[in-house]
């Protein structure tokens, strides 16, 4: 699963979970400032991404995360397996 696939998946998931306009969720969008995703929302997002990608994603991985692209990079580093994708 390359970065473009991961990005597409993360974008779709953010749109679905928080009912946001798809166009507003861009790689450079800041989670808190631009998308109004608070720490409790982030916990939901981490849980969903972990469930769907099988990545060993923990809230700790999210400490340094600021933008949508940061999530993609984190998932990529953790080595998301294409086949585990729902």
């Amino acid at each position: 699963m390359d970065k473009d696939d991961i990005l597409e998946h993360v974008q779709a998931e953010i749109v679905r979970l928080f009912d946001l306009a798809p166009a507003s969720v861009q790689p450079g969008s800041r989670l808190y400032e631009d998308l109004d995703i608070d720490s409790l929302d982030a916990v939901d997002l981490v849980g969903e991404l972990r469930r769907q990608t099988g990545a060993a994603l923990a809230p700790e991985n999210f400490r340094q995360v600021r933008t949508v692209q940061d999530i993609v990079d984190t998932l990529h580093e953790l080595g998301v397996d294409h086949h585990s994708r729902v």
């Binding site: 979970l17 928080f18 009912d19 720490s39 409790l40 929302d41 916990v43 809230p59």
Partner: protein, 260 residues
Amino acid sequence: MLRAGGIGLCLTVFGVAGVLSGLLLFPIARAAPVGPERRRDWAQWLIHRLCRLFVRLTRALGLLDDRLYAADRLEQSGAVIVANHPSLLDVVLLLARLRRVDCVVKPNLRYRPATAVAVRMAGYITRAEGPALVERCCAALADGRCLLIFPSGTREAPDQPLKFERGAARIALHAGAPLIPVVIRMRPPVLGKSQRWYHAPASVITVSISVDEPLDIDDYIKRDSRLAVAARELTADLTRYFNRRLSTNVYDCTDDRRRD
């Protein structure tokens, strides 16, 4: 001049009572051979009494004219009480009325000398707990305890529209608990975020605290099963509600005018 002295006197009494209780009463309660729940209730009762003492003293000196409307709505158990937070005084006024309540506080209050002992013993919940925060709050509500949350997260700037965080809405939705809005108006603003405690007001401090009808939480859960989305909608409505209520006159309380 006299008024500044009066405020100074009240704050001194409050400070001394706070420090003395920190030094004496709270440690006695801590050493007492009782369970942590009992101790927490003692600490909350003591805080309640200290706040009441302060409020009565300030009233007796003619510095404070406070009105509380429909306070009996606070008797409900297992409710999330949400209030705006213009001043340090509003916390004291609310705690002077609430004998048992779990406050959700800023994490640094656990470490400040004036508040550390009380906050820890009273089992107040700090915001920094993340997902554990929601679980702890829901457990308290399931136990029939009430929570006091200031959704602004800190004291608000005077005469600015409020902007609420979504934690309170999340907790209420998660627990299916009633959400009771408490609208606080204060003139002139004192003990605000950008004010020093010795900035004495030029007139009597008038405070009206209106305990409003609980909001219907079920409606939001039915509309959207995604908690994150429901919390967004509920918080948006709650913010609008407070801003609308605060834009009306100080003593224009639409419902009953029962004074405590």
